[in-house]
């Protein structure tokens, strides 16, 4: 039994914008990332032979010339690895065996003494293919005429909340049937219908994927990598290879940006498979930037249909949605994006009648996977434009329309779940106020036009119902504390949050706390994955529990030594104090050596080691036919963004003049880091709104470089982004906190699209809103002089 945090304990590090635990080593250049680890001269370098075809049968692979090249130590094909890999649907081999399904699909791998020799060897591998017709459009892919990309879909093992349709390319079909949309349409005063195509984008972490694998003579696997998911990798790789999870050790130093791309397993299995052929030697595989663009996960494209209606008073009556997710060649992770977008498909609005069909469709495109927002930016891009149009259709201000319809505490959500306490209305009001909603500013030049736009969002952590966290808290002789976690620091600040929570729960100053690095599955406590904006909430609960456990052990020891009631004791600023006797004792030494009893009568205590875990136990299943159930998700983080844009009528260039973000984070553990997430997310959203799309032509990526795939730079961002924190506490969050990492980029595309409409009266359609696209739309609308 762990004592609750005493009211008397001042949890001062909570709500303070303390310095990040990792800031100093990162500015000094001493922070280690996976590619910085040194493995000595015995290390081998791997390169991968990849399919040039989007869809083909593999008829023959001849590796003899590659094997004969001096310096080559191993050449590996899929023959030796029959196992399947995948998070929610095991639909993927480590190396392709009989069929390739996208340009870049790995068919063979080489380990050699240098990257150059490995590259030469890859060129010497001969592969004979029989090209097959491909699927490059998810709607076509879902239909009866499309070639079937996974004929054995029915044999794949799959999570029980994912519903594949064997014999088709549909690897998940998620349905919502709430109320009756057909009887609602005649009641509507206004109905809008739209189709949106949201293109594929890429995460673009500045650090490319890298993995180093070493397989010992006894078969034990060590894997060092840039990873958001060391424990998931341990599990998935062990399962695919048919070995024990305890014989796979994943070591993950700092991650140079993840955004989802380093979740689950992508290229790590390749490094392990190659290393199995050269036992005892470390094998390094690092993706080139070009490979990063099309062989790591991409954000899925989607074709989305919305039909939404409201009554004359602006009350939403019905929403009908179809999503055709362009899942790519393998949808092992992407199937759950289909589900997440389905159970959130109303957007953050209370709508009595909802019909949704969300399809995950195999295509011969790069592999779709988790990316910051997990389907929500793509879904909200269209939905929040329809909300504006619906408001305009009944001549209502879009902010007023949102105020009426947005979810509030007790709202019946699209799955039948009741909404928990939420600050969405407050986020909306604050964002509208901050952008000075309803007031138009004059443009900076006669050829420019100004406009404002706003969008709401919601997102729940998308994960299995029982994704768990654990943590450990140990102390050293001087009373300093080391927190061990399995959640990863990917830039979002999770280690700092862990240190703040441990300090507060234990009763020591923040600067006494260290975080054990790197994450190592052999030593670090279990964490499901660093995804879904779940660490502050889930890992935070585990850290707090571990620190309270350590605190309890210390208090019990002192109570015994002083012969006092534990209720009279507290830990403040690293000292145990008694409110009764007014005695105090420093944590120093006692947390290791215990306390001597009077008159040399022995000792009490011993090395203090706190442990804690957290797992949500209350999420229920949803009916396969209706998507209804009591508790679909753990909670929703909600928020609003507002922007002001200026459109250059001569060039089509859209400039974002200012941005506002307001999110309900429950409780900001570190307010400055929360604001930094809101700002960074806003800019990533801006970048996807204005610049980014993977241009795929018959499955071949046309722009795999930073020159051709442009992301926002220092000259593209507005001068002001105002970040507003709203705090309506989460009942099971540590200090009331819930996550913010992903949410910050969810509403940006529609906020900008709505602002462009306000400026020039044109719906440009699918992002990105490039100068060219906007100029052509202006021209087509006859707005040019």
């Amino acid at each position: 039994m762990v004592a609750p945090i005493s009211e008397k304990t001042a949890p001062h590090p909570i709500g303070d914008s303390v310095e990040r635990v990792d800031a100093r080593e990162k500015v000094l250049g001493s922070a280690l990332f996976a590619d910085d680890l040194q493995f000595g001269t015995g290390m081998l370098y791997a390169r991968i032979k990849r399919s040039p075809h989007p869809h083909a049968l593999v008829k023959r692979i001849d590796t003899s010339k590659a094997k004969a090249l001096p310096g080559v130590k191993a050449v590996v094909t899929g023959e030796a690895f029959p196992g399947f890999i995948g998070l929610y649907l095991k639909d993927r081999h480590i190396f392709c065996r009989d069929r390739v399904r996208y340009v870049g699909d790995p068919v063979a791998g080489v380990a050699a003494v240098s990257e150059e020799i490995a590259e030469q060897a890859v060129a010497l591998i001969e592969v004979e293919y029989e090209p097959l017709p491909g699927v490059f459009d998810p709607e076509y892919g879902a239909g009866p005429d499309a070639p079937i990309l996974h004929p054995k879909l029915g044999d794949y093992s799959v999570a029980n909340f994912i519903f594949p349709k064997p014999g088709t390319n549909i690897s998940n079909h998620f349905k919502i049937r709430k109320g009756d949309v057909d009887s609602a349409w005649p009641q509507c005063a206004a109905i809008v219908e739209h189709k949106y195509h949201i293109p594929h984008v890429q995460h673009v972490p500045i650090e490319p994927h890298v993995a180093v694998a070493r397989v010992e003579e006894d078969g034990k696997v060590k894997l060092w990598g840039s990873s958001q998911s060391p424990f998931a990798q341990r599990n998935l790789i062990a399962t695919a290879l048919g070995i024990s999870q305890s014989d796979v050790q994943v070591i993950a130093p700092y991650v140079g940006g993840g955004f989802g791309s380093k979740a689950g397993v992508s290229m790590e299995g390749l490094a392990v498979a190659i290393a199995m052929q050269v036992r005892g030697r470390p094998v390094k595989l690092r993706l080139t930037r070009e490979e990063e663009f099309y062989t790591a996960f991409v954000r899925q494209g989607v074709v989305a249909y919305f039909k939404m209606g409201c009554d004359a008073d602006g009350r939403m009556l019905a929403t009908e949605v179809s999503f055709y997710w362009d899942g790519g060649a393998y949808t092992e992770y992407g199937v759950n994006i289909t589900r997440a977008s389905g159970y959130s498909s109303s957007g953050p609005y209370e709508v009595p009648n909802v019909k949704t069909d969300s399809y995950c469709v195999y295509t011969n495109h790069p592999v779709g996977g988790p990316m910051r927002g997990f389907g929500m930016p793509e879904m909200h891009a269209g939905l929040e434009q329809c909300i504006d149009e619906l408001a305009y259709a009944i001549k209502m201000d879009p902010v007023q329309f949102r105020k009426i319809n947005c979810v509030k505490e007790g709202s019946v959500l699209v799955t039948g779940m009741k909404m928990h306490p939420t600050g969405l209305s407050e986020c909306l009001a604050k964002a509208a106020e901050a952008i000075n909603w309803g007031k138009k500013n004059p443009p900076s030049a006669p050829n420019k036009r100004r406009g404002k736009g706003l969008a709401l969002m919601w997102k729940a952590p998308a994960m299995p119902p029982n994704a768990g966290s654990s943590a450990r808290v140990g102390l050293a002789e001087d009373g300093t504390v080391t927190v061990s976690v399995g959640g990863q620091e990917i830039g979002q600040g999770s280690f700092t949050i862990a240190a703040q929570m441990a300090a507060a729960s234990l009763g020591v100053p923040y600067d006494w706390v260290r975080v054990a690095t790197p994450i190592d599955t052999q030593y670090s406590p279990y964490e499901w994955q660093t995804v879904a904006s779940r660490l502050t909430w889930s890992m935070g609960n585990a850290v707090s529990a571990a620190a309270r456990d350590a605190r309890q052990q210390i208090l019990e020891m002192v109570a015994k030594a002083w012969n006092e009631d534990i209720e009279n004791l507290d830990i403040i600023d690293g000292k145990v104090i008694s409110y009764k006797s007014e005695e105090s004792i420093s944590l120093k030494n006692i947390v290791i050596y215990g306390i001597p009893l009077p008159d040399d009568q022995g000792w009490v205590g011993g090395p203090v080691l706190g442990r804690g875990n957290f797992m949500p136990t209350y999420v229920t299943g949803l009916d396969a036919e209706t998507g209804q159930g009591p508790r679909a998700v753990v909670h929703y983080t909600v928020g609003a963004q507002a922007v002001e844009v200026e459109v250059d009528m001569d060039t089509g260039k859209v400039e974002v003049i200012q941005g506002v973000a307001a999110f309900d984070v429950g409780k900001a553990i570190n307010p400055d880091m929360v604001r930094a997430q809101m700002e960074g997310g806003f800019v990533q959203g801006l970048s996807t709104a204005l610049f980014e799309s993977l241009q795929l032509k018959e499955g071949v990526l046309q722009n795999p470089s930073f020159v051709d795939y442009r992301i926002a730079t220092s000259t593209d961002v507005p001068r002001h982004i105002q970040a507003i924190i709203v705090e309506v506490p989460q009942d099971d969050g540590p200090w009331g906190a819930r996550g913010i990492g992903e949410h910050a980029m969810v509403p940006t595309i529609p906020a900008i699209a709505n602002a462009i409409y306000d400026a020039i009266g044109i719906r440009v359609g699918a992002p990105p809103y490039t100068s060219e696209k906007v100029y052509l739309a202006i021209q087509a609308a006859g707005l040019l002089d």
């Binding site: 914008s17 310095e19 990040r20 990792d22 800031a23 100093r24 080593e25 990162k26 500015v27 000094l28 250049g29 001493s30 922070a31 280690l32 990332f33 590619d35 910085d36 040194q38 995460h203 673009v204 972490p205 500045i206 650090e207 490319p208 700092y254 991650v255 140079g256 940006g257 993840g258 955004f259 080139t288 930037r289 990917i490 830039g491 979002q492 600040g493 400055d672 880091m673 604001r675 930094a676 700002e679 960074g680 997310g681 806003f682 800019v683 990533q684 470089s705 930073f706 020159v707 992301i711 926002a712 730079t713 220092s714 000259t715 961002v717 001068r719 982004i721």
Partner: protein, 160 residues
Amino acid sequence: MANHRILVTINQEVEQVDVPSQMTLMQMLRDRLAFTGTKNGCAAGECGACTVLLDGEPVNSCMVLAVECDGRQIVTVEGLAHDGVLDPLQETLIEHGGVQCGFCTPGMLISARGLLNRNPNPSEDEIREALVGNLCRCTGYLRIIDAVKAAALRQQALVA
């Protein structure tokens, strides 16, 4: 692939290195001399993560051959702090919360150092222009820009 013996000053210390003709400065720094603060983000001169000062000017070290550096001065991120005292840019980057994942940070700091060396009092537009080749996916740049402004002021105060 002939080796060339070069003498190069890195962070004020002279190093003698034998490098093959095709080796880039980034490879020499990271793989040969373990100055791993310099990051490899694209190896194509497009992301700025590998930026170092070459005779005081910021360059993408992936686009410079090691042999070109014979007799020249290089400053990497490891050379910004002296005896535990941070460069004002390092201090202000922490204070303004301009560090998240930290992977662009070394290159960003070096580009900013190059700017402040040639222009101690830059305007915001000049700062943005100086950092345009350093991609950051986490921060949204504003805190980094603010940190450079603050460092310029702090540096002027130190000199005054």
